[in-house]
Symmetry: C2
Subunit: 206 residues, 2 copies
DNA sequence: GAAAAAAGTTGAACTGGTTCAGTTTTGTAG
DNA sequence: CTACAAAACTGAACCAGTTCAACTTTTTTC
């Protein structure tokens, strides 16, 4: 009952992912055509579209992997966060940012973001936003922990605050992805300053 | 020296803009093809591309108009803002949001946003980000005014704070544009709660 | 093991935005 | 007014992502 068909399916899917990953790294997302991916993966173009709805859909599986890994690692930060709230938030932020270019280039992030915005009812967009929501929830979760530990004012609206901080992280990451000259260090420094500005007034007012 | 050529050029440009605006309103951006726009404007497809670099470029001229109007109106709010900081920020925010759908539909905003992200070095993207920067500067400017008026703590980092608040406005507007069921009222309510969470701790600590 | 059904593969054709070589129109000089 | 140059217009061809009707392979049934 192993199923030859299942085996072939899994194999083809893997071949397509391997081929595209290789080609994207080699020549960039835009430069690589579906023909090339299909050829390199030894399937036909039609078969490619049996496995992925669109070219951008290829990215989604990578984005998904990326974010899931980062969410898991983020959870362990929430379990025992740095005492200083700014430092705690920046630890999470650095995790997100440093991990971001492991599987995906800036160009690929741009494409994924643009695709997610383009039509909101596509499965791509829905999944992408789910992942974002997961990250946002994690930031909110961290604020709750800090609040419970008495590190942040008790009357802070953790939900609203978390959304603002996450939206800022996300917007800054978008800016970073758009501008090829924007370095990771510059990004972290700017976000540090912003996070400070927002979080400092909430400290010790418990 | 009026120049027949100049006159014709201006006329053709106007015809294309009128035609596309009409067609987009009628059938939505995606549905309308360049052929149709060209036909309706009584020019050839090639001529269309003499006047606009891409289909998305059509949107840019509309977005540009939109944002320039809003920036101007925003300036008059800065001249004499409501005393309460949250109310002041929400007045500006409501201006932005209420104005947003005068010339552009959600679908058109999505397309413009996606295009601006897709390739960051295109004139489209550069112009779009300039406009965003203008809005961000206006939010920062409002915070400065409020700080000068003694309404916000004197040691607040207006620049960083303004960026965070603007990034949040922008992110929420993006979410709103993506989700066709997200209403303007819901948007304003959520942003109100977020703005409160961030700004309240800065009040009276002067 | 043969036949029918189900699932999957294939690549040529389609789609719609974009380009460009050839043509027409406008401005200028003699 | 004619001739020439510059600018602008034109639409058929191009391109790359996507679709789909015909074909092949695997599974199921008897």
């Amino acid at each position: 009952m192993a199923g030859l068909r299942e085996k072939q399916k899994a194999d083809r899917r893997r071949r397509i992912l391997t081929a595209s990953s290789l080609l994207f790294k080699q020549s960039g997302y835009q430069e690589v055509h579906i023909n090339q991916i299909a050829e390199c993966a030894e399937v036909s173009v039609g078969t490619f579209y049996n496995y992925f709805k669109t070219k951008a859909d290829l990215l989604l599986s990578t984005v998904s992997m990326e974010v899931e890994e980062v969410l898991q690692q983020g959870d362990s930060i929430l379990k025992d966060p740095p005492e200083d709230p700014v430092e705690a938030l920046m630890t999470l932020t650095r995790l997100y940012y440093d991990h971001s270019l492991v599987y995906l280039s800036k160009e690929m992030w741009r494409t994924a973001m643009a695709a997610a915005i383009q039509e909101g009812q596509s499965p791509f967009s829905i999944r992408y936003r789910e992942l974002d929501k997961g990250l946002c929830a994690q930031v909110c979760g961290l604020l709750e922990v800090l609040q419970e530990n008495g590190r942040l004012s008790a009357d802070m609206d953790t939900r609203a605050m978390g959304e603002v901080i996450f939206n800022n992280l996300n917007a800054m990451f978008t800016e970073y992805s758009i501008d090829e000259t924007f370095t990771l260090d510059e990004l972290k420094n700017r976000v540090l300053r912003q996070t400070r500005a927002v979080v400092k007034p909430l400290i010790g007012a418990a």
